[in-house]
């Protein structure tokens, strides 16, 4: 009996019609596509994108050249050199992040005792010339200055879970 019914089912293409009905119904369902440059998907405040270095409210840079981020970086993307600064404190003279090496894991942010290095939610950036993949200290600070309000808001939103 079973063999007869499966024989008939084969001949009326039963399973093929089932498959076709699935695609046919999907044909009328709305597309899930987001029209990217015009529309954007929602983003978490924890999003790990382009890096930035922050300053305190008085303009003093936060980084104390403890090199914890350099030590924790699994991709060896961070290079730090330090010296005694003008005010007698320890400061970085060089703080480079190679964006080609970086895997955006966020460990540097976790390791930082003073919340100096952060990853912002910026993810739409590009490089136009060789060497632009190296984020120097100046560039990092400039990004931090430019997007300070956004970074502070994101950190505040996430603070209660940390």
């Amino acid at each position: 009996m079973n063999r007869i019914s499966s024989f008939i089912k084969t001949f009326v293409l039963w399973e093929l019609w089932q498959g076709l009905s699935v695609t046919f119904l999907n044909f009328f369902k709305p597309a899930v596509t987001i029209y990217y440059p015009e529309e954007k998907a929602p983003q978490s405040p924890r999003f790990r994108g382009l890096h930035a270095q922050r300053r305190y409210a008085n303009g003093e840079e936060r980084c104390i050249a403890c090199k914890l981020c350099e030590a924790v970086c699994p991709a060896l993307a961070i290079t730090i050199e330090s010296d005694v600064g003008e005010d007698g404190t320890r400061r970085t003279t060089r703080y480079d992040i190679d964006l080609f090496k970086c895997i955006y894991c966020g460990f540097c942010e976790e390791a930082c005792p003073v919340d100096a290095i952060v990853e912002t939610r910026i993810h739409e950036y590009h490089m136009e010339a060789p060497g632009e993949n190296i984020l120097t200290k100046d560039k990092l600070l400039a990004i931090g200055d430019k997007y300070d309000a956004m970074i502070s808001a994101d950190k505040a939103a996430d603070a209660k879970y940390r």
Partner: protein
Amino acid sequence: MKALIPNFVLNIWDWFPPLTQYLIETTFWIVVVMITVILSVAFTTYFERKVIGYMQGRIGPNRVGPWGLLQPFADVIKLLIKEVVIPEKSNRFLFVVAPLLTLIPALATWAVVPLSDTFVIADINAGLLYVLALTSVGVYGVILAGWATNSKYAFLGAMRSAAQIVAYEIAMGFALVGVLMAGGSLNLGDITEAQAGGFSSWFLLPLMPLFFVYFISGVAETNRAPFDVAEGESEIVAGFHVEYSGVAFALFFLGEYANIILISALTSIFFLGGYNSFFEGWTFLAEDSFLREPSLLWLIIKICFFIYVFFWIRATFPRYRYDQIMRLGWKVFIPVTIVWIVVEGVMAWMQVGPWSNLSG
């Protein structure tokens, strides 16, 4: 129409001997049909990407022109300005000729396709044989491309395609024997005329199994998914056209889609009454309604439907394994068609049900 043409043109026209007039007129219509088919090919590629996109929850091309309608032209321009790379150890002549061999039969077959009740380029008696012959020639393009490329992948693709098309050609031919019995003629126009009189007199109902066999064989014949083992991108890269680029590749592309349109047109002519109206003989429409008249519009609607089915199938089914293709062709389709030809003959002879008004 004639009133629009200035008098002196008509005078020059009358000077030509009748043979020249015939040649010019036929060439004109050939060019018109060819350009129409090629333009339809362009928009068929767009249609395919849209249909498959929607079935997969995407939207398909939507950036070039309004709703992405200019996408096919962008693709064509891109392919035209690319370099045609000819592999050093290939057979240059066959390598270049092969794409043409897939495209030309697909276009030449349109000569016998009756586009409306008054228009067909070549009204020849053995139209069905011509169609069978030309669709078989199409496979030479694939085989020669695979052989001339002198690459193992291309050669495997060509061999697969050759075996597959030989297998399905037979089932296709048998399915057409059924059509020819029902239509009582080899002329495509006569076959269409035999189906005049609305849905009930189409060959779809009495020849249902042959219809499915013919359409599925058509899908296999055009090397489309789920029968696209000749390309088999997951196994043999791109099969017979691995080494093709630029214009040569564009010609293969054109040939493939021209074949899709052709198979759709032939299926609608053989089983769905070609240019005949679906509503013929229906009384709720006005007596002079154009929907009840046979016209090109109906053929176009039917062709579009079958093209849609091609893409629907592609979006639904995974690729057949090679031995399954062979099994389906030789052990399922050929017996089914032979049995149904016998059934059709007996039923028509005994005047039973939907078979009773077949002319054969």
